[in-house]
Each structure stands twice: as structure tokens, then as C-alpha cells.
């Protein structure tokens, strides 16, 4: 187990190294001059060169690459072209905003989805089961931006229950701090994007858990547990649900990808100042240092998530050997 962890951590670090290298060369070799937005071609050539030197762009590509790697290790992502402030600071705040929205909503969606899916399969053939399957299938094929806009239209504009977007009311909290995240105003803003994400992400675990449970229920070990006189509740939780969690756990890395993709869309629809929205804005402004850092961060999150999923799966299924 420990060896496995060490090995997988090495793999993860290697993956990240390759990712960051690819990203470095991709941005530099892509057509179009990334510096054009900052170093205007209209400036005097002397001024252009001075600026280039300031950003280190006069050095050979390989040397630039080494500097880039050193800076990554030092968590120095450079300076935003747009705000001219360090990227690390810009992103840190946005990351927290994303996490407070996406993480709890994903956890809630998966907990509810898996549990409800398991329960309707256990009491199979109920009216509720039919209705939920229909709703989940429909919701799953609905684009999440459309779902978000419908929610805004109905709950915010028609019913006036929730704010239309943003993380807090304008001017309430000039600085993002703990007090802000604990305020009622924040929760009020959080509610709608949270529910939309839950509704959207609920479908997959619900449908998967239900179909897995339906086949688990027919397994011989469930029958044996019943023959042993094990109480039904225990059969449900300790055998049927426990074993049905395995396929869901294998899809965890995939789910992380969806969470990231979902966050970009939801944050855009709800003007939620998170990492996803930052990325969209930065791409629009050709703010390369920010885009690059955001991509890297997402890569780190995904690689870490995959590592976590591997370990979790190994814990859930003893048949997996750590080789």
C-alpha cells in the first residue's frame, strides 16, 4: 500500500511535469504573438525591446523554459497582463470561490444520487422509480447552461427568490474574507447555482447506482445473506449498497472532468467569480499567464483526484492488488 502510494505519487508528478512542458511550448509555438496585447506593435522598437527584456522574452526559448519550471516550483506564475498583479494571488481567491460552490454541490449530488438510486432499485417497480428515471434521463441530456438560465428566469426573475448572479451583493464585502463566506448574503447567492449543479450532477450517480443495484440484488451473496437470516436493513447497506458503490468509484476521475467543465459553464451563467469564469475572462483578454496558471491548476486538481480515486477504489475493493 505504501509503495503503491509512493509510486502513484511519482506518476502523478511526472504527469504534471509533462503537462506543464506541453503547455509551455504550446503557448509559445501557437500562431499569434501572445505578447501583442501588452507590448503593442505601435510602440517604439526600443520600448518594445525593453518590455520584452522585462518579461524575459529576449532570452533563448530553452532558457525561458528553465526559468518557467523554476518559477512553477516556487509557485510563481508571473504577472497578469490585465491587472498587472501576481497571478498566484488572483487565482487563489478564485479557486476558493469555485471550491465552495462545486465541491459541496458535487458531494451532495453524489450522496443523494447514489442513495436514492440504490433505494428505488431496492424497492423496485415503484411509481417513484419510474418518475425519477424519466426526470434524471431528461435532466442529463439538458445542457447545464440552459438549465441555469431557466432557473434564473424562474426563481430569480419571475419569483424573485434569489439574486440573478454574483457571489455577494455589490459593495457588501470589498474584501473576500471568512466573514463573507459565512454571511447570509453569500448563502443567498450560493443557493441557486448550488441547486442547479446538484440537479445536473445528480443524474449520473442516480442512474448508475440504480442499474448496478438492480444487478447486485440478484447476486448469490445477497441470497445467501438472506438465507443466513441477516436483517434486511443490513443486507441493503452492508451488502447490496456497499458492493454497488464499486462502479461509481471507478468513474470518479471522469466525474472530476465533468465537475471542471460544469464549473466553467455554471460560473459563467451565474457570474460566479470562480476559476472557471476567470478562465473565460482571461481567454477573452488574451491574458496568457492567467490562462496558463488556471490550466495548470485544473491539471493538478484532476491528477490529484485520479490518485485519490485509485486509492479509494483499492480500499473499496479488496480484489485490487497494489502492483
Amino acid at each position: 500500500m505504501r509503495q503503491f502510494l509512493i509510486k502513484r505519487t511519482w506518476h502523478a508528478l511526472l504527469t504534471l511535469f509533462v503537462m506543464s512542458t506541453v503547455m509551455f511550448f504550446m503557448f509559445r509555438l501557437l500562431p499569434g504573438d501572445p505578447t501583442a496585447t501588452v507590448i503593442s506593435p505601435a510602440l517604439y522598437p526600443k520600448a518594445q525591446e525593453a518590455l520584452k527584456a522585462q518579461f524575459g522574452l529576449d532570452k533563448p526559448l530553452f532558457e525561458q523554459y528553465l526559468i518557467y519550471l523554476r518559477n512553477l516550483v516556487l509557485l510563481d506564475f508571473g504577472i497578469s497582463f490585465h491587472t498587472l498583479r501576481p497571478v498566484a494571488g488572483e487565482i487563489g481567491n478564485r479557486l476558493i470561490n469555485t471550491l465552495v460552490l462545486i465541491l459541496p454541490s458535487m458531494i451532495v449530488a453524489y450522496a443523494i444520487g447514489a442513495f436514492v438510486g440504490a433505494m428505488v432499485a431496492w424497492k423496485r417497480g415503484s411509481k417513484l422509480e419510474g418518475a425519477l428515471v424519466l426526470i434524471a434521463t431528461a435532466l442529463q441530456s439538458t445542457p447545464v447552461f440552459w438549465l441555469g438560465m431557466l432557473a434564473i428566469l424562474f426563481f430569480s426573475i419571475r419569483l424573485d427568490l434569489f439574486p440573478v448572479g454574483h457571489i455577494v451583493s455589490p459593495g457588501m464585502f470589498p474584501e473576500a474574507n471568512l466573514q463573507m463566506y459565512l454571511s447570509l448574503d453569500f448563502l443567498h447567492h450560493l443557493a441557486l447555482p448550488f441547486m442547479v449543479n446538484v440537479a445536473y450532477q445528480f443524474c449520473f450517480p442516480f442512474l448508475l447506482m440504480r442499474s448496478t443495484m438492480l444487478s447486485t440484488i440478484g447476486e448469490d451473496y445477497i441470497e445467501l445473506a438472506r438465507m443466513k437470516g441477516v436483517p434486511e436493513k443490513r443486507i441493503l447497506y452492508h451488502h447490496a449498497m456497499r458492493n454497488s458503490m464499486l462502479p461509481l468509484a471507478t468513474t470518479l476521475p471522469m466525474i472530476l472532468g465533468w465537475a471542471v467543465a460544469g464549473s466553467v459553464v455554471i460560473e459563467t451563467v451565474f457570474s460566479w467569480p470562480g476559476l472557471g469564469l476567470l478562465m473565460v475572462e482571461a481567454v477573452g483578454r488574451s491574458d496568457y499567464p492567467v490562462v496558463q496558471a488556471a490550466f495548470l491548476l485544473i491539471a493538478v486538481l484532476t491528477v490529484a483526484g485520479t490518485l485519490f480515486a485509485d486509492v479509494l477504489y483499492g480500499i473499496l475493493d479488496p480484489r485490487i492488488t497494489y502492483q
Partner: protein, 343 residues
């Protein structure tokens, strides 16, 4: 009440079970009548699909959702299992009747330790602490010949034979009065099969539980079970003392099974019964074996026979022509007789 009945631990009376398949009913069991005495060893034989597992599942109360018990009584020590409420029924399971299932690999939950699965059975019926139950499980492992040090293994870490032993250990856990064994060794090689049966029979002699053994190995039944039950297409066609049935089967189907096993002392080839089991759809009339039976006459097709006693030693047979069987036994040993007469 005869003496026979008083010793009976498990008795089944006119049991009918159907399976619903696509709005049609399949008559899986019909008119089953069976009485198992305390400590008896009963062999249950019959070809694949004749309803052996269905019968055992009915006794255990774990029929699948599409099964329906139409009539009948399954009584354990005189109290009817079928009319018990869920909680009463749960308590009788395993404590009074346990089962060794057909496939030990699938019967053990792959994500839980084997020891824990035995402890679970013990704790479902007693207030033993986990430590007590584990100590008990270790003893059970010793009894079936698995090192107790392997209680914390997962099922996939066991060989097929060890898994089967573990399942037997589990079946013994609460010292039930009846153990049902559904082809307990199908997936194992012959040597391991022999070892496991030997162990199982030894344990039976020590502990005195009644054993109902479902198997396709007729030789094993003849060798080791004092009573034998022959099923065909959902009905019991013959039952009684094994030596009687083996020596002179009263039902043509039993004769077919009997002469299908090679006999080193007799100079004959084993026969095989031509044809295949009938459609079990509800509403067919006549003897279910008629279309494969060399002795079938008009009456057999028209009217289904009753299960009748042939003597007072519990030998019963369901055949219109059983009285003539002794005259035909010689013929039944030849393949040609089966082929020529079965249409």
C-alpha cells in the same frame, strides 16, 4: 401418527410452486410431498431443470420475486414456515435450517472478509460479541479443515475447495437441525469432491443434523444416502430407501437414471434416456415422463398418476405401470429398448 412421522423434522405437503415468465406460468413444482427424519441423509436427484434448487429455495424462503407458492405447507418441527411473519421466518433461517449453495464463489461477498461473513451469520441470531463469534468461527474453520489463521482472507484469496469448506463452516455455524446442500462440489475436481463429502458426512455423524444432498452424482447417493428422492420435471416420481430404489427401481425414469451410471460388476454399457424434459407450462395433463417412457400407454398420456406407497418402508412411486416394472428391469438396461419405444 406413525412412528415415522414423529421423528420427522422437516415435512412438506402438497407443495405447488410456479414461476411467472412473460405472463405465462411455469409449473416448477407440483404436488411435492416429502418428510425428512432427524439426522437423515437424503439424496435428491433428477436432471437439470427438474426443480431441485427451486425446492430448496422454497424451504429456505428465498424464492425470486417472480415465483409464487400456490399451495402447500413446509413445516419445521411441526410449525409451518410459509405462514410465519417476516421476523419469525428470519429467525428460523440458518439457526434451524442452513444451506450450502451451488456456487461457493458467488455465494461469498467478494468485498468482505470470510471470517466476518461467518461472524455475521452468528450475530444475526445471537448476542455474541464479535470476539466470541470469531473464536467460534475459528473452531468451525478447524472442523472443516481450513487453517483458522485465514479467517481474515477475502474470498478471492481462497481456492475453490477452501471456499466450499468455508461455506460448509458457515452452514454449521448455528448447529442447525437441517442442512440443505445444493450440488456443493460441482466446480471442484474429483479428489477434492471426495474429501469434502467425507468431511461433511463425518460432521453429520458427529452433530446429527439432517442432510438433504442435491447432486447429479447418483453413485454418491447410492453409496452414502439411506434415503433417495427422484424428481422429474417438477414432481417427485419415486422416493424411498436407496438400496430398494437402486436394486429395483419402480419408476421408468429412476430406472433410466440407475442404468445411466456405469456398473463395473455388470457387463453392460451405460444407457442414456433419449429426448429432453417436457415443457413445464401450466395446464398439461398426463404423466410428465410419458413422452420419453418406453412403457407409456394411452392412460399415461391422459391421466397423471398419484404418488403411491409400494410397501410400508416409505417407498413411494408415481407411475401407472409401476407394478409391471420388475418384469421390465432387464430390458431397461439396454439402450435399444429406450430408443425403440420412446417416440
Amino acid at each position: 401418527m406413525t412412528n415415522q412421522d414423529q421423528k420427522s423434522i422437516l415435512s412438506i405437503e402438497n407443495l405447488d410452486v410456479d414461476y411467472r415468465v412473460d405472463r405465462q406460468n411455469v409449473a416448477a413444482l407440483r404436488d411435492i410431498e416429502l418428510s425428512i427424519s432427524k439426522g437423515a441423509r437424503v439424496g435428491l436427484v433428477g436432471e437439470s431443470g427438474c426443480g431441485k434448487s427451486t425446492l430448496l429455495k422454497t424451504i429456505m424462503g428465498v424464492l425470486p420475486g417472480n415465483a409464487e407458492i400456490r399451495t402447500g405447507k413446509v413445516a419445521l418441527n411441526g410449525s409451518d414456515l410459509l405462514s410465519m411473519d417476516t421476523e419469525e421466518r428470519r429467525k428460523t433461517r440458518w439457526a434451524d435450517i442452513s444451506m450450502i449453495t451451488q456456487s461457493a464463489l458467488n455465494a461469498l461477498n467478494p468485498v468482505h472478509k470470510i471470517g466476518a461473513q461467518i461472524v455475521e451469520a452468528i450475530q444475526a441470531h445471537s448476542n455474541q460479541t464479535t470476539i466470541q463469534a470469531r473464536a467460534h468461527a475459528a473452531k468451525l474453520f478447524e472442523m472443516v479443515g481450513v487453517p483458522p489463521g485465514r479467517l481474515d482472507d477475502y474470498p478471492h484469496q481462497f481456492s475453490g475447495g477452501m471456499r466450499q469448506r468455508a461455506v460448509i463452516a458457515m452452514a454449521l455455524a448455528l448447529q442447525p437441525e437441517v442442512i440443505l446442500a445444493d450440488e456443493p462440489t460441482t466446480a471442484l475436481d474429483v479428489i477434492v469432491q471426495d474429501q469434502i463429502f467425507e468431511r461433511l458426512f463425518e460432521l453429520q455423524d458427529q452433530q446429527g443434523f439432517a442432510l438433504v444432498l442435491v447432486t447429479h452424482d447418483l453413485a454418491l447417493v447410492v453409496e452414502s444416502c439411506e434415503t433417495m428422492v427422484v424428481m422429474y420435471a417438477g414432481v417427485i416420481v419415486e422416493m424411498g430407501p436407496t438400496h430398494q430404489i437402486a436394486r429395483s427401481p419402480q419408476h421408468p425414469y429412476s430406472a433410466g437414471l440407475r442404468y445411466a451410471i456405469p456398473d463395473p460388476t455388470a457387463d453392460r454399457e451405460p444407457i442414456s434416456i433419449p429426448g429432453s424434459p417436457p415443457d413445464l407450462s401450466v395446464g398439461t395433463k398426463g404423466c410428465r415422463f410419458a413422452e420419453r417412457c418406453p412403457l407409456a400407454i394411452e392412460k399415461c398420456v391422459e391421466q397423471s398418476p398419484e404418488l403411491k406407497s409400494t410397501n410400508n418402508e416409505g417407498h413411494k412411486v408415481r407411475c401407472h405401470r409401476s407394478a409391471e416394472m420388475p418384469d421390465h428391469l432387464e430390458q431397461f438396461q439396454h439402450q435399444a429398448f429406450w430408443r425403440n419405444n420412446a417416440s
